[in-house]
């Protein structure tokens, strides 16, 4: 796999290269947007890690141009952590957005996930009702099996039920009480935070970064949901 790493900071590029190389990827460095685009012309790239604040051509503009020709996964990497920046980046066509400073291991995990998604998981049929798919999260209801990025995940029955509920109603927000009532079947009196604890455990199992979940998202003060993908 060829991965293009583009950042004006040489040390960062170097560091990322070291980590990814350990995973067995082939790294091609670039130090500004222009360079990246040029490399794209000549080489076969399977994933780009792109910084935003760069001279000559910044990441957003580069991505914009890139997307005209290619649909390969792009992970944006930036010190800009505002929501606005994230939204912009994702809207322009990025598949993921990571803020600096970042946990290198998380970066590696995301790279892996993106690649897998792009290569292996592109052709999954979604017509089967008993198979729920959300991004790389796959739930086989017949086999009671859950996989993330192709890797199976061990969930407790409760956790499975919760995840099923949310995946069935992807996009709908459930409050803790609602989840409790549906799963445990009792009236939710002072039910403590048992639901949120389960949510957290699920996250730890299926999310790359439980603190920054891709699937099991929270709407603060309202409830939990899984986004429709």
């Amino acid at each position: 796999m060829n991965i293009l790493v583009c950042d004006d900071d040489k040390e960062i590029v170097e560091a990322i290269t070291i980590y990814l190389k350990q995973e067995g990827y082939n790294i091609i460095p670039a130090y500004n947007g222009r360079e990246a685009l040029e490399i794209m012309e000549h080489e076969e790239i399977h994933l780009i890690i792109l910084d935003i604040m760069m001279p000559e051509l910044d990441g957003i503009h580069a991505l914009y141009e890139l997307r005209e020709k290619s649909a390969i996964p792009v992970i944006l990497l930036s010190a800009k952590s505002e929501d606005a920046d994230k939204i912009l980046g994702l809207n322009v066509g990025a598949d993921d957005y990571m803020t600096k400073p970042f946990n290198p291991l998380e970066l590696v995990a995301r790279v892996r996930s993106q690649l897998r998604r792009y290569t292996a998981l592109g052709g999954i049929e979604k017509e089967d009702d008993n198979i729920l798919v959300n991004g790389t999260l796959v739930m086989d209801r017949d086999k009671k099996l859950v996989k993330v990025d192709g890797e199976p995940v061990k969930l407790t029955p409760t956790e499975y039920n919760i995840l099923e509920l949310l995946m069935e109603n992807a996009g709908k927000v459930f409050s803790s009480s609602e989840i409790y009532e549906k799963i445990w079947g009792e009236d939710a009196y002072a039910t403590d935070n048992i639901v949120s604890v389960h949510i957290r455990r699920i996250r730890e199992k299926i999310e790359i970064n439980p603190k920054n979940p891709d699937y099991l998202k929270v709407m603060w003060g309202v409830g939990y949901h899984i986004e429709k993908k």
Partner: protein
């Protein structure tokens, strides 16, 4: 420890004591005390004043002050009073009698009228006795030589005669005979009657007219040497009255009796009298119990009945009248009963220094006189009189020398006052002085503390009323003084009237408890007003407010002040001047209501109206413009209708202000933008090298270190790098939160749901430190009560901060209490935990950025947390509070409840 504490307490007590004077309660209490002192002072002063009024100022110095001397004056007042009572028998003053006081001065002359058949004829409770009082003491001829008119009223109150009687002394009478060439051949004229007898003779001229009128004249024969006398005095009608011997003799029949004592029925009046004047109230009482009766014995019975069967009327009379009352009552009954407290009539008549009166009574009811025609000699006269069983003659007098201070009944109240009050005048005066001093001290203290909050602050606080003009204040003050002086005079008059009949008449100043109450209440009102006004004055002096609030001063300043309203002033002053001049002219020429006057008035009104309209139009526009400016519309300039408007200066001023505001606002916005940009840029620049640091440390970690120490060093580097990273993130957040430069995504949030979600995140961490979260979640049906409007993510961030805080700094193995409540429409999140390290700073300091509970430690965390949390909360319209109590750390986050419509 104990000693220090008590010292501290004592100091506090002392401090508060000194301060108490200045507290509101202190002032009110002291004001009340002052009023009380004032009341005492007024009472003492009033008493002293009264004592001086009654007894004169000598009483102060003279321990052996003789009350009787003072009483003497009163007694002659009494006598006068008696006389007045008698006088006031009828309004027409048809009765005549003479009263001569101890100095043998004739006090009054009155006409006497026979109104014996009239009904109770009374003026006041004292004076219903119809009598005529004849002076029975020996008189100088000089007085008696004058003529006194008498009206004879016969039957049913008709006047018969007037101006027909002349009074003479015995000697003068003799002279008449001499003058008229009548021989006095009989000694009885001189011998038969005492020197104090007086003679009355009827003018023959009148007699003839009488004869004509009435045809009743029968010339009487003298009982004695009638022929002689008769012949010689044929045309003279005369009568003799000898008070000493009780002889009355007239030379005509009783039909024309002139010396008749008519006593009238006045039972109901007597009742009233008794009720008003109990025994011993006054000397004048002695007149009262004389009743009309056919049988004069009834009088005494009446008296006895009144006193519960006491059958000693003398005693009663004595009791009521007191020892100074002397009386001699002789009834013309068979027995010639005499009631007296003296040995003989002479004791009454002849005594010096005494007011004595004679009342001659006859029961005349319109029938034939009781005197028979045939009178032979004195005894016969007397016996005839005696045999009628009617009539009485009463002498009474007021003998001051008999007055004993021990007298219970005689002017008991007077004596009582003398003994208990006047004799203690010295104490009273001391009381006056003491209360006065006390009053002054209290007043001084009140004045000192008035208007000030406490000892240290010297500024004076004026209340609204202190600001009215000095002249007004002065006016009110003077009115109060005048009012209170008048009041006290009035009250004193009434009070003194209560006990003693004034010279000016019977009970004209009646007094009862209502007067006293009135007096007390009014004193309180006056005293209070005095106090308030004086304090107000004191405050104003302290605040130097007197001069500045002079009405004239203000007018003066207003006139002279140079400002934009110069023109208004000129207009107004001119207007007023014209009006005043015109009014003066009209007044002088007395042209009120003339057409010119009306026209002028109308004209003035029109001018005034026009001015008002113009001014208000301009004013309205100005106000509108100011409103716009306030709303942020700085660009418009105000233009007034008329360039000569008086508000032009104001308008220009407002325009200037608008410009200034405009500039200020723009600058402020620019500054804000720059600041935010700066922070964001800086943080970006920080993050880049930081990323590398973290990355390479991570790489280091995966390498093998030569020594365990080296490994440890790498660990340290890692930790610090992460801390630095956190700090950078926090920095941006803090800056944005404080400058308000965050875009908030407000939506309805279930606070309780949020708390559950947040706690879910911390479950493991808390377990790690063995912290037990104790939470009380609301019931499902109450969930509406916990909805708030906020930015969910940000609110989570806040809770995250707070929970993180608890996690980091709590003592292991303790409980963390969390509750969500709705209090008066405010949703509150309360978290309590026990701090691991002692919190020896205040809540405010803790909230300051970069402060952490234990400032010496260097554990994780940046210290920005609480500060950011507070600012974020505020931005969303909530409240963030911290309370520290020993080791207990309490966080309270409040949001208004979101009410659905």
């Amino acid at each position: 420890m104990g000693k220090k504490d008590t010292e501290k307490e004592m100091n506090q007590v002392v401090k508060t004591k000194g301060k108490w004077k200045y507290t509101r309660m202190g002032k009110i209490a002291r004001g009340f005390l002052c009023m009380v002192t004032y009341m005492f002072f007024v009472s003492f002063a009033g008493l002293a004043g009264y004592v001086f009024y009654e007894f004169g100022t000598d009483i102060v110095l003279d321990k052996n002050y003789d009350i009787s001397e003072a009483n003497m004056n009163r007694i002659s007042d009494e006598a006068e009073f008696v006389a007045e009572c008698v006088r006031d028998i009828t309004e027409e003053k048809n009765n005549a009698f003479r009263i001569i006081d101890a100095d043998k001065n004739m006090v009054n002359t009155y006409d006497v009228r026979d109104i014996m058949n009239s009904e109770t004829y009374f003026i006041d409770s004292l004076s219903s006795i119809k009598q005529y009082v004849v002076d029975s003491s020996p008189l100088d001829g000089s007085i008696y030589d004058e003529e006194y008119s008498l009206k004879l009223i016969r039957d049913k109150g008709l006047d018969l005669y007037d101006d027909c009687y002349v009074f003479f002394t015995r000697d003068s009478f003799k002279n008449i005979f001499k003058k008229n060439g009548i021989k006095n051949t009989h000694n009885w004229l001189s011998d038969g009657f005492s020197e104090s007898a007086y003679f009355i003779y009827l003018d023959p001229e009148i007699m003839s007219s009488l004869r004509e009128e009435e045809q009743l004249m029968n010339v009487e024969t003298s009982p004695l040497d009638s022929n002689l006398l008769y012949t010689e005095l044929a045309d003279y009608k005369y009568a003799v009255y000898d008070p000493v011997q009780d002889i009355f003799y007239s030379s005509w029949d009783d039909y024309f009796t002139s010396f008749t004592h008519y006593i009238y029925k006045m039972s109901d009046i007597t009742e009233e009298l008794y009720s008003h004047y109990g025994a011993g109230e006054s000397v004048s009482n002695i007149i009262f119990p004389i009743l009309w009766s056919e049988n004069y014995r009834d009088i005494w019975e009446f008296i006895s009945n009144k006193y519960d069967g006491i059958d000693n009327p003398e005693y009663e009379l004595q009791k009521r009248a007191g020892s100074a009352f002397v009386y001699y009552v002789k009834l013309y009954d068979k027995d010639g009963t005499v009631y007296s407290n003296v040995d003989s009539v002479q004791d009454i008549l002849k005594k010096d220094n005494m007011n004595s009166y004679v009342v001659a009574g006859n029961n005349y009811k319109g029938e034939a006189a009781n005197y028979s025609e045939d009178l032979y000699g004195y005894d016969d006269i007397v016996s005839t009189l005696d045999s009628t069983e009617t009539g009485c003659i009463m002498y009474f007098g007021i003998d001051p020398s008999r007055l004993k201070l021990n007298d219970e009944s005689f002017s008991a109240s007077y004596v009582w006052i003398y003994r208990n009050i006047a004799c203690n005048i010295n104490y009273i005066l001391i009381g006056v002085a003491l209360t006065f001093i006390l009053l002054t001290i209290q007043a001084a203290s009140l004045i000192k503390t008035t208007g000030r909050k406490d000892k240290e602050h010297n500024e004076v606080i004026l209340n609204r009323y202190d600001r009215f003009h000095s002249e007004v204040w002065l006016l009110i003050y003077l009115s109060l003084i005048a009012g209170s002086v008048l009041l006290s005079i009035y009250v004193m008059k009434r009070v003194s009237g209560m006990y003693f009949f004034s010279k000016y008449g019977y009970r004209s100043y009646s007094c009862d408890i209502r007067i006293l109450i009135n007096g007390v209440l009014s004193s309180i009102v006056f005293g209070f007003s005095f106090m308030q006004l004086t304090l107000s004055f004191a405050r104003r002096v302290k605040a130097h407010n007197i001069k500045s609030r002079l009405l004239v001063g203000e007018l003066y300043r207003w006139v002279l002040k140079k400002s934009g309203e110069q023109r208004i002033k000129i207009y107004v002053l001119t207007y007023i001047l014209i009006e005043v001049l015109f009014l003066a002219y009209v007044y002088k020429k007395n042209m009120w209501y003339s057409p010119i006057f009306i026209l002028f008035f109308v004209l003035m009104w029109i001018i005034a109206l026009y001015a008002v309209v113009r001014v208000s139009a301009d004013l309205k526009e100005l106000c509108e413009h100011i409103d716009k400016t306030r709303d942020g519309d700085f660009d418009i300039e105000v233009k007034l209708q008329d360039s000569s408007s008086i508000f032009n200066d104001v308008a220009a001023g407002i325009n200037h202000i608008s410009d200034g505001l405009n500039m200020a606002v723009e600058k402020s916005l620019k500054d804000e933008r720059m600041k935010t940009e700066l922070i964001t840029n800086v943080s970006h620049d920080l993050k880049t090298p930081l990323t590398s640091i973290i990355n390479y440390i991570n790489l280091l970690k995966s390498e093998k270190m030569p020594t365990p120490e080296a490994e440890h060093y790498v660990e340290v580097l890692d930790a610090k790098a992460h801390r630095l990273s956190q700090l950078t993130i926090d920095l941006v957040e803090a800056a944005k939160a404080t400058s308000g430069n965050i875009e908030l995504n407000m939506m309805p949030i279930s606070f309780d749901e949020l708390v559950k979600q947040a706690l879910g995140e911390f479950e493991e961490k808390y377990e790690e430190k063995k912290l037990e979260a104790v939470i009380a979640y609301p019931d499902k049906k109450d969930r509406e009560m916990y909805k708030v409007m906020a930015d969910g993510r940000r609110l989570f961030r806040i809770l995250d901060n707070v929970l993180q805080n608890a996690y980091k700094y709590s003592l292991e193995n303790t409980r963390v209490y969390i509750e969500i409540i709705n209090e008066d429409g405010q949703v509150k999140f309360i978290m309590k935990n026990i701090s691991k390290a002692p919190l020896n700073i205040s809540a405010d300091e803790l909230m300051e950025r970069f402060t952490r509970g234990d400032s010496s430690r260097t554990t994780e965390g940046s210290g920005l947390g609480l500060s950011i949390a507070k600012d974020l909360t505020r931005l969303m319209g909530g409240n963030f509070d911290i309370e520290l109590d020993g080791d207990l750390f309490k966080v309270i986050i409040t949001f208004p409840q979101l009410r659905s419509l």
